[in-house]
């Protein structure tokens, strides 16, 4: 039989602040279960204690469609109350995402710079953000009137394109590498974003 917090009924006409007290006490002293409650409240890993203390159901309920919860954490059966279908679908989704990989890393070259850099395109939400990051990275101004530099990229087909023509979300998927061009060619391209 599980040990749950069971207060005497005559305690409970008020807020029962005693319940929220942190106390030390030996088992058998005044309401020892309160220790569990206190540690439940202060420790986020409460469910471990609850399952060890209170739930005889844990191992005995047979689960044909048990989800694959992380094995290291003992859990209360059926808590939080989420249906198996949802748990399984979300797990499949999480698995897919971790397989696909986190970022879209592309090489960035700047004409005249001795070495290349790499940036993660997924971090940026729009062109201005991306350009600002590149400007900070290489300490130069890109793309505005009078600037010596213009941003270009190589797409999936191998062609060199000017950055800024297509919607940003489309650019991210087709960009394979970036090149910040300098010189007379660049001046012609001017402000593109």
């Amino acid at each position: 039989m599980e040990r749950l917090v069971s207060f005497e009924s005559h305690h409970d006409h008020d807020l029962n602040l005693k319940a929220t007290e942190l106390r030390l006490g030996l088992p058998g002293s005044d309401e020892p279960e309160k220790q569990t409650t206190s540690s439940v409240r202060s420790n986020k890993r409460a469910s471990t204690e609850i399952s060890q203390e209170s739930n005889t159901n844990n191992s005995s309920v047979s689960d044909d469609h048990e989800d694959c919860a992380p094995p290291s954490k003992a859990q209360v059966v059926g808590w939080p109350p989420i249906r198996s279908y949802r748990k399984n679908t979300l797990q499949a989704k999480n698995k897919n995402e971790s397989e696909v990989g986190a970022g879209i890393y592309v090489k960035v070259s700047v004409d005249g710079a001795p070495y290349l850099r790499k940036i993660d395109l997924k971090v940026y939400k729009c062109y201005p953000e991306l350009l600002e990051a590149l400007e900070n990275m290489f300490k130069l101004t890109i793309g505005y009137n009078g600037s010596d530099y213009a941003p270009t990229y190589q797409d999936k087909d191998g062609d060199w394109m000017l950055v800024g023509d297509v919607p940003f979300h489309m650019f991210i998927t087709s960009c394979k590498r970036l090149r910040i061009m300098k010189g007379s060619e660049a001046r012609g391209l001017g402000s593109c974003v």
Binding site: S9, N57, R86
Partner: protein
Amino acid sequence: MESTRSLSFPDKVLHRVFTHLTSNEDRNSVSLVCKTWYNADRLSRSKVFIRNCYSVSPEILIRRFPNVRCVTLKGKPRFSDFNLVPPDWGADVHAWLVAFADKYPLLEELRLKRMVVSNASLEFLAFSFQNFKRLSLFICDGFTTDGLEAIASYCKNLTEFDIQENVVEDTSGSWLSYFSESFASLEVFNFSNLSSEVDFDALERLVSRCKSLKVLKVNRSVSLEQLQKLLVLAPQLVELCTGSFSQEFSAHQFVELESCFNNCKNIQSLSGLFDATAQYLPAIYPACANLTFLNLSYSALGSDELDELLMHCPRLQRLWVLDTVGDKGLESVGSNCPLLEELRVFPSDPFDDTIQGVTEAGLLAVSFGCPRLHYVLYFCQQLTNAAVATIVQNCPDFTHFRLCIMNPRQPDYLTNEPMDEAFGAVVKTCTKLQRLSVSGLLTDLAFEYIGKHAKNLEVLSIAFAGSSDRGMQCVMEGCPKIRKLEIRDCPFGDAALLSGLEKYESMRSLWMSSCNVTMDGCRLLAKTMPRLNVEVIKDDESDDSHADKVYVYRTVAGPRMDSPPSVFTL
């Protein structure tokens, strides 16, 4: 007693009048007026909704209502969703089908929730009812995709095929190919539950033939490109569930997809969007103008993506999201969805409590921006009493308030007090409240409030709460309309159980698990109230005097004959 003055309509006229009574509540009322009306109702009632399959037997049902065409049956207690009920517990539909095949040969609609349905039952169904039109299986189990082959093959008049959230063994997608090439009557087609790849050409031809198709919900194996082809064939769709919403698209393909959604001007409900990312979500914007229901609970969107999407959904009434949108995403909800009536926020990773998810700030923001909000289901890590009080002040019309603070017995994280005042505020302010789920650290005071104020409460779910029997007693003595009570892991014992003696016959059911109820208490209840079934589910390891799981329900059918060994009817 019949009046010979005004009630001497011929029966036929009365029947005709009664066919216009569509609500079963109304029909129940008219059947009590007099014997003539009782008979008129029973002979003309064509739809029955049995909320507990063990509350009545097929024979009793058929005897009273001989002309039924549409049946809805619900089986297992709701906590079976959370693995608290043994898999062999019962709720097998087969006996019902056998009885219906004999007495309701014209059966056209069957909707099952939490029932056990075998392949043999599906085959029997397909063979027995020539006029069968609408099948809906929701949170059922016991069948595989093989059983669906029979439905596809033999139900020539099928208009609705709705398979949702069942535990299905998916052996293959070939079931879809069993629809004949001349079959064209589908109006509702939902197979999003099933994972196997279906023959896309067969699906395409099916959608193309079914000119009345209004609801199409495909599974994840259908790609974005394939979805596009289907949408071109069915621009009249009102409800759509997409498959996988991520694919390597060129700019041109994206524009085509966008234009495709642009042609779907009737879409009111959108779901699926599996693996949807910021890149492809904009394709659906053109179809969002009339959207009233948006289910994003399988797409891990962030706050920015949600914000941009919601700007295109001004008419949204119901929104389901994952907590990946965060409080910031919920602020967008508050700003963009003034007509919102229902919000559900699900946890993206329920077992990782290091994830922030959403807090009280998110729901607060929604309550400020959405005064019509009356249904909320909210999973979060922590709350405060003050926040909940403000939320219900902003939205006093809540009918369904389901709060799940995921850490059991979590107090108000600012004051460290119990969450009693939060739920006190809910029941005092929301006089229309019908359904309540409580969580967090709660003493008996919370239940005193509920008993005193929740006069319209019908369904109450309690977990890890209360201090003593008095908690449950307050509810049993105080809530006049309570119909369904589900309790787990609370310190309620025999006194609490027995305090509901007067109430259980007017309730649908009571569930108590991992509480302090004993076998003796259950036996006493069973003995005192013979028209209740008092079932105890025993776990092997507990001691004999303890009643681990108790399920009490009213019935006119007597104790059931199909209990498995672990279930004792006392």
